[in-house]
Symmetry: C2
Subunit: 187 residues, 2 copies
């Protein structure tokens, strides 16, 4: 038995305060919000942030974990609820897009080669690639989607298409991802 020493009360309190502060900062300044801003909002020193969340990726993952889980869990449900596997795929991707475009700077962070965001990248992949793969495989088996496009590549393309969403009303990421999914269709 490894005795699990419970964290101190102030530490637990600060962790929650930081999550709230970060979530608020992310909304107004995007996921690149300056560390000092987040610390100030939470009323703590910057050292406290780094103690709880060693990298920015850890903080981002913690803030959005619930929403990513929800998106992942929606996959199988859509597969049974939709008329066709291709429709299920399209609807699931819409869900993913809706999540991404409301998080300023998140798609950029997911794509940046920056080692800081490695954890973030890995978490999204671990959680979403298998789901996407299931949907994609179902659609391919049903002969509705051309073979040879992996779940990873598709997700990455969708993520890319969501970059800069909201900063320009002439660009509609939903429309463009829909076009991409249409291109997947076996004619």
């Amino acid at each position: 038995m490894t005795a699990v020493p419970r964290k101190r009360a102030d530490a637990r309190r600060n962790e929650q305060t930081l999550l709230d502060a970060a979530a608020a900062a992310f909304v107004t300044s995007g996921v690149d919000a300056p560390v000092r801003d987040i610390a100030f909002r939470a009323g703590v020193g910057v050292g406290t942030i780094y103690r709880h969340f060693p990298t920015r990726a850890d903080l981002i993952v913690a803030v959005y974990r619930h929403q990513v889980e929800a998106c992942a869990e929606a996959g199988p449900a859509l597969l049974t609820d939709s008329a066709t596997p291709h429709e299920a795929l399209a609807r699931w991707i819409d869900l993913f897009v809706d999540f991404l475009i409301t998080k300023h700077g998140l798609p950029e962070a997911l794509r940046s080669g920056d080692a800081t965001f490695e954890t973030l990248h890995a978490y999204f992949l671990d959680r979403l690639v298998p789901v996407c793969d299931t949907l994609l495989a179902a659609a391919t088996t049903a002969g509705q989607v051309i073979p040879g496009v992996g779940a990873y590549q598709l997700l990455r393309a969708v993520g890319n298409l969501c970059i800069g969403a909201g900063s320009d009303d002439r660009y509609d990421p939903r429309r463009m991802t829909a076009l991409l999914v249409a291109g997947l269709r076996a004619q």
Copy 2:
């Protein structure tokens, strides 16, 4: 007649040296290469860079101007050389993608909301949107492409799909843009 005072010889020389140094730095470190690196390569002080190219965008535009012009001029030629307008569009977009994926960080810069890159963004749009629009219009008129997708939006989507190219061999921007263009096709 506004007398045009010719620039000093050293200034002209430095401008060319800087262009060469920047081009080299962009190849190895991407278009975000530190200003000090570029200055060092060129053997000048950082002040000299800012005097010749007030923003990074000016430098990037100057370095890639020829290639962008070439891409723009290829549009009309492709339209007459190709079997169908849709094929011309597809080939032109391939050309654009080939240009982008060899310029590390350029697609990212084009999309960043950063005001520093405003000039860059504007230059690409000025030069390429009209060309793309011509191709798109021809394909639409021929009934080969669904209406309602503007040249700006298409170019932006293609640019986005090229972000991070080369950093990950599981992701193929050419393939993804081809899928997007396939999705444009009127069935």
